[in-house]
Amino acid sequence: MNEMTEMTEMTGVIKGGWEYVIAAYLASAVILLGYAGSVVWRYRRERSRRDAPR
Amino acid sequence: MTALAVETIGLSRRYGRRWALSDVSFALPQGSIVMLAGRNGSGKSTLLRVLATALRPDYGSVRVAGHDARSERELVRQKTALLGHNSFHYEALSARENLAVAASFLGRPYDPSLLARVGLEARADDPVTSFSAGMRKRLALARVLLQDAAVVLLDEPYGELDPPGFALLDRVISELRSRARSVIMATHLVDRGRALCDRALLLEEGRLAWSGPAAQMPTEAPDGSAVA
């Protein structure tokens, strides 16, 4: 992916570019879902540790 | 009710999961000379630092020299002086300069005779870094005298002092007594404390185990070990 994508000058229509859209959404999904998962997991673990008799 | 030097009700202070002080309540009339006894880690230093408003109490009320230690910290600080484990001095400055800096904040003229009183006039212009622990304690004592406070808090003042230093401290305490100042002294020298002080407080693991006339303070715990 290191070669420059085909890109006309500033005002032309950018052909292709879907791989960037996919990359952006994948990154967003990984980070948002990953963070959500980590918060829920840490929350559950702390709840179980707290409810279990110390 | 005579004016109280110090009054605490249910004073508690924690360090993380441990209670350094828990539910300590006592009242000391003005002019009383008090020995604060207790083993290492019993909360003596913490109590003195709370009374000096260096530490804020977590629970309970504390009144020193007629002012509340939470809401009127500035007023309490004007009426108290603390001799702590740390000398409160700038290591890079000389003895004279340190006292001059303190005097400038107190708005009082610097009294050159102070260094003579604590036996440091020979080393007045040497930086504190070159001082031994005993000399630092003497300089800290000079700083306490400079403040001329109504309630004087001494945290193990005899530590690191040499015999002449002991005599110096005895003289200072008796002078404070004659000027009707209140003194609370944390010390392990129980006999000396009994001789100098009229009241005593005994701390065990952050709790007030005993309080009353210094002469009657128990020296042995039920299990025979030394109490303080």
């Binding site: 420059m4 994508t5 890109m7 005002t11 032309g12 229509v13 950018i14 052909k15 292709g16 570019g17 879907w18 960037y20 859209v21 990359a23 952006a24 959404y25 990154a27 967003s28 980070i31 948002l32 879902l33 963070y35 959500a36 918060v39 829920v40 840490r42 929350y43 702390e46 709840r47 707290r50 | 009700i9 249910g10 508690s12 924690r14 993380g16 999961r17 441990r18 209670w19 828990s22 539910d23 629970y59 309970g60 009320s61």
Partner: protein, 231 residues
């Protein structure tokens, strides 16, 4: 802090909205005249950017209340808001970078909004590190609140200074040149991220609150007697 499960519901709703907005944005929304399909990154980039700023503003409010009124609840919410703010800011930078590549041919185009987000990412990331290194809970609460207030007040200054600094380089490209037809997926995703983050903030705050409870010893037994005695 409550025990009810509404945060899980909110998080779920957020994810559902995001799924809906994304499929709409990727599958059905018309292709943008100039930028073609690359423009579809906007449907996730702009909502994330809005919410990142919102979360950091929430952190600022928590910091103010925590400083002025105190209370461990607000410190817990502050911790949650800082963490979420850093995660979202990081995501915004990644999305912005991926968007800049096909558009300008470089991985970073120094757009004032994006650069401000990057500065915030490092600023609030530093505050997260501060919270790790301070052991005393009370000091940690006060210092991080002070740091958040100071970092937040800086945002307008950073934005303007970067915009002036950058104005010579290239024409101001606003990724939000979004015409009416594109609004719906954008708005749906914006609420999607909002609900998702709101739910996570509550859970993360409860987690922080519980940790504080184990970190601090409970009040002494005579707490009630003391309360009565204090004038």
């Amino acid at each position: 802090m409550g025990k009810s499960v509404w945060p899980f519901g909110l998080t779920g709703l957020g994810l559902a909205l995001l799924a809906w907005g994304t499929t709409w944005g990727l599958g059905f929304a018309p292709r943008e005249a100039y930028m073609g399909d690359v423009q579809r990154i906007m449907y996730v980039h702009v909502p994330t950017a809005w919410n990142a700023m919102l979360v950091l503003t929430f952190a600022f409010l928590c910091a103010l209340v925590s400083l002025l009124r105190g209370g461990w609840v607000w410190d817990a919410r502050l911790e949650a808001a800082i963490e979420a703010g850093v995660v979202l800011s990081g995501l915004v930078c990644i999305q912005g970078s991926i968007w800049a590549r096909p558009t300008w041919g470089v991985w970073w185009d120094w757009d004032p909004r994006l650069t401000t987000t990057a500065v915030l990412l490092f600023g609030f990331g530093g505050i997260l590190a501060l919270r790790q290194f301070v052991d005393d809970p009370v000091k940690r609460a006060v210092w991080s609140a002070v740091a958040v207030v100071i970092a937040y007040v800086d945002v307008p200054l950073v934005y303007f200074s970067v915009r002036w600094w950058n104005s010579l380089h290239q024409v101001q490209s606003s990724p939000e040149t979004v015409s009416r037809a594109f609004h719906w997926p954008l708005r749906i995703n914006a609420f999607g991220v909002l609900f998702l983050v709101a739910g996570l903030l509550e859970l993360r705050a409860r987690l922080a609150f519980m940790r504080r409870e184990t970190e601090l010893a409970p009040p002494p037994p005579s707490e009630t007697a003391v309360a009565a005695a204090t004038r």
